[in-house]
Symmetry: C5
Subunit: 90 residues, 5 copies
Amino acid sequence: MIRATVTGKIWSSRRIETMPTGGYLEVETETGTRLIAFDPLGCAPGEAVLITQGSVAAAYFTDRTAAIDALIIGSIDDETPNKSGKGRKS
Amino acid sequence: MIRATVTGKIWSSRRIETMPTGGYLEVETETGTRLIAFDPLGCAPGEAVLITQGSVAAAYFTDRTAAIDALIIGSIDDETPNKSGKGRKS
Amino acid sequence: MIRATVTGKIWSSRRIETMPTGGYLEVETETGTRLIAFDPLGCAPGEAVLITQGSVAAAYFTDRTAAIDALIIGSIDDETPNKSGKGRKS
Amino acid sequence: MIRATVTGKIWSSRRIETMPTGGYLEVETETGTRLIAFDPLGCAPGEAVLITQGSVAAAYFTDRTAAIDALIIGSIDDETPNKSGKGRKS
Amino acid sequence: MIRATVTGKIWSSRRIETMPTGGYLEVETETGTRLIAFDPLGCAPGEAVLITQGSVAAAYFTDRTAAIDALIIGSIDDETPNKSGKGRKS
């Protein structure tokens, strides 16, 4: 999995039917890579999240074959230090 | 998923039988990476699209085992700001 | 999928039994990355081809569980402009 | 698989239900890439570990469909030289 | 698939049960990337090998769900020129 920060939300009115309804958040990894992940948790901009990728992301959806390859699976608790070694809980 | 812009279309007259008929669009990501994705939506050059990759792309096709590893799953609505932070809807 | 150019052929006399017999071509992508793909079409050096990767490549083989993760699925027609924007059909 | 070194642990109190309980360790590869892997072995910071990625990581869990795409599958024995060629067992 | 050269062997005494017994070789690709692959062929250091990655590597094992994401599927014959264009058979 990868650690990333939520940077925004995207909307897609014109899309394939099997796309699950819900939040599609744009996230940025520590190396600056950006990707878009389905958000089952309702995360907010700036939140540190844990992302899983590939077919395991699609397997989360039990009611359909979802064309999803990135999924937010958790919000990272504050006391987990990031690269700079500082725990983000002041 | 990744955000990309449609840059063109490719044709492949000589191909394996299980390749679905339809549009094969060339797209460019924000980092300049180019890939080719199957387009079930009829997108146009310059359009911002959402791409899913890997076996989840192939799973979209229920009538065959499609050798497809990249699929356009949606067109990104204009008011979604891209990296420059500007919403593209003036 | 990715666009690549055929640069050569590889031979592997000592290999696992489930490897399908046929052509294993070395290809180079536009960014210079090289990989080896199974070729069901009989492509030639210099030919522009369309490659699919991952488990969807293996799924092409219906008679075995093939340990193949890259497959040539089509030859790209000449009038498809490459990065330089020139259509290769003079 | 890839070789990596354990650099820390992450906690995620707010997460999807199907996430297995257990250790989620942050690891760094030889090229400095960081990722987070599920740890079934109880590894310690500084330990050299072997990581598998993708759907094969999720397949380790037989009691659920786990949204896990990286798994520690072994601790690398000391006498295995790393890139610098030195065996780490003095 | 990718072309790589065997650079060494790794040992992992403390590991998950479903890891197949056999050789785990460290290999280096032409771009210097290093990874570890299961070796069903008994390859030697310096040997040029063909590697398949992802779930197709795990599918090679029919007796278990193997947490393997990289597999040596063949030894590349000498007369296959590498990037420098020289056939390695003098």
